[in-house]
Symmetry: C2
Subunit: 425 residues, 2 copies
């Protein structure tokens, strides 16, 4: 699971969405699949492009997972009011001179599936490649926003004090960089950590973190940490907490640990009990786990696309959905209010100027009050309160960093919001 | 996944159901769980008794799996007419002099969950340990009966010719013992194979099969088969096909391979499309997979308990359920008609005299026409057409072989059938 990066890497040439279509390429089809279409977890072949376009819809076939139960009741279908005018919506990609249509943006972003809700109704829904309405796709770092939402929920309920130190909740972290960070600093990722997620650097800490969290057996001479929790205790400080936003997955897993200590539930269990069972979800979700069963709170969630849209719609409605207050309104107020803009600016995201990060959500501070969950390779939840619009998107863009698809994503979402506001149905 | 054996092994002393209750022992509870309550897949700790009592309800947290989708529609709850008189039903265990009550049999059999349907209504339902109504449990070799049912379905539909040789469908198996066996011999496990499932014998072929099918990385010097399919091609003949019943898991995986070739679907996909999506199932099921994504057709199915009962109820109704003919009646006729009793007798099951094996079902040939799916450690589907009764049971008996629990299982099921017939409600 690859993290968000601040800017796109060096330009590389990849086959386009059609040429890399995982359904056409036929990964893992056949009994057995052909050797050059067989993907294995342990040799890493599953996550090379374009094979990863299959894998992001099939993580559970590659690694152990834990269920996020929807419960046993009837799903509550989202109302449908499909529109045919959306494909023609035009926008100009950031940095481009020629406009692009919404329909064209789907392929540009290697979209695997996208659902648009307007005023709570599905107005647009598309699937491509191997993702279907009854499948599940990796949410990648959108998981962080879900974990952050659970954290904000516990804060709103008074069960978690954002001003307290992490070590007060998880004493095992006292000697780590997290020990004297506040829960708020973790929620907003303003901790000062010696931890690099630069995948281009073979010495980056993210590699050791990945190995610690991998469910695969360790080499015989391995002496490092053997779980997410063991790794988190080794993170060293760098700089001061609270000064700058620094997007690091380990914060989300520390939050997951705090949440589990406070509630006696794993993140997967809490997500099921408090949210998934109350959304009328169509499908169980699931989370990948490490070798001792800890859900990957920083990136392990997989869901059906419509269910991801349901989650966003619940937030758009200030936590209220299907006549129930699922989350306190204060949670959404806190997310929408955003985080420290000055701290965010220090992180230097060229395309996200004026934004902030709060409760593990990306807050645009645009005039629609939009906020966003972002996962590498193009995963998104986009909530636009003013336009009464929610977009859930799963994708498998060849470049991990969302900086690579933001130019054809952000203006597209904004253009669609304006279109729906100007032509409501 | 441990196979059925013909007789119980040497008597051993195990903690009883209460002392080994996985909920009380607290496996995998806590963040992290205590070291002596942490179960890992790669060191085998997960399948030692009593830890395996947790694992059988949590296989997906230990290994990769593939979904068996229930679809996106509303579950159709089974009607409920719970009875309070069942716990007091008495029977005499085989080989015992003193009677036992039904309620006592639950603990004797290390029952994790049991559902009894009478005339299609739930009359009895119990869960113990860590299994809940919204959980999934390993069906173990009950999987074989599900795979066999799919095979019998394809036979009834004329898509699979039981008289043809396996190699006609899967040429890769031509040089193996399966090559000149008929599909019928595979369906009824009368193939002559050099393949031992004696877990007490370290040279038994089952160990090599387990290693081939394991999703874990192979040792560096490993040169053997790396998937179920690769292993199946190595099985050598022993004796003649068609002469004797010999219960060997590899037959089920060969059948799974044949099914996949004929239909272009994995067993998991076909099970979803043809059955699970049409049962009004409450939950998705799942199957464990090998390192190239092949579902374990011989033992990898995991389901909710009520859904397993639904499957049995559909068979009791001759393939008809919820107003739909889900399977041709000919499938159930063929199972109920049973297999070759003389061939079965040669296998020497002391407690199952007069039985036969057909389409991977155990047929009692008793005066109720009962037939049964059996999985190690106590898994069962029991269909009693005359009593209009279906029992689905998940268990975690310390002894793999069902010979260890048949004495407190078979007479209990028969006594309950008589009770329900004599006192219908």
């Amino acid at each position: 699971m690859v993290p968000e990066a601040r800017a796109a890497g060096p330009a590389a040439s990849y086959p386009d969405a059609t040429a890399s279509d995982p359904a056409k390429l036929g990964w893992m089809v056949g009994s057995p699949p052909p050797a050059d279409r067989t993907l294995r977890f342990d040799d890493g072949s599953y996550f090379q492009f374009p094979a990863m376009r299959w894998s992001v819809s099939n993580f559970r076939q590659l690694m152990p997972t834990v269920n996020v139960s929807r419960g046993l009741g009837a799903p509550v279908p989202l109302p449908r009011a499909l529109r045919t005018d959306i494909d023609a919506v035009r926008f100009t990609p950031i940095g481009a001179s020629a406009p692009m249509t919404w329909a064209e943006s789907l392929a540009a972003n290697y979209t695997d599936g996208i659902v648009v809700l307007h005023r709570g109704r599905i107005v647009y829904e598309r699937y491509a490649g191997v993702l279907k309405a009854d499948g599940q796709h990796g949410a990648m770092s959108v998981t962080k926003s879900v974990t952050g939402t659970l954290g904000a929920m516990l804060v709103a309920e008074g069960r978690l004090d954002p001003a307290r130190r992490v070590a007060d909740y998880v004493p095992e972290l006292a000697a780590s960089a997290f020990g004297n960070a506040t829960v708020r600093q973790v929620l907003d990722m303003t901790t000062g950590l010696q931890y690099s997620e630069d995948y281009a650097d073979p010495k980056a800490e993210v590699w050791a973190y990945s190995q610690a969290g991998s469910p695969l057996p360790k080499p015989k001479d391995y002496t490092g940490p053997r779980s997410y929790y063991e790794y988190l205790q080794t993170v060293q400080p760098q700089g001061q907490h609270g000064e700058a936003f620094a997007y690091k997955t380990v914060n989300s897993d520390v939050l997951g640990w705090v949440i589990s200590r406070v509630t006696g539930r794993s993140v997967a269990e809490l997500l099921s009990e408090r949210i998934w069972q109350r959304l009328g979800a169509e499908q169980d979700a699931y989370m990948t786990v490490d070798s001792i069963g800890t859900p990957f709170a920083g990136g392990g969630l997989n869901t059906g696309l419509r269910d991801l849209a349901r989650f966003g719609e619940m937030l758009r409605n200030n936590g209220r959905f299907r006549g129930q207050q699922i989350l306190p309104k204060a949670v959404v107020d806190d997310i929408r209010g955003g985080g420290d803009k000055a701290a965010f600016a220090k992180a230097g995201y060229e395309l996200l100027q004026g934004w902030s990060y709060r409760d593990m959500w990306w807050v645009t501070h645009n005039d629609h009050g939009a906020f966003m969950a972002r996962g590498v390779h193009g995963q998104r939840i986009y909530v636009d309160p003013k336009a009464e619009m929610v977009i859930a998107r799963y994708a498998s863009h060849p470049v991990a960093s969302n900086a690579a698809n933001d130019p054809t994503t952000l203006p597209a979402f904004e253009a669609l919001a304006r279109h729906l506001m100007s032509k409501p149905r």
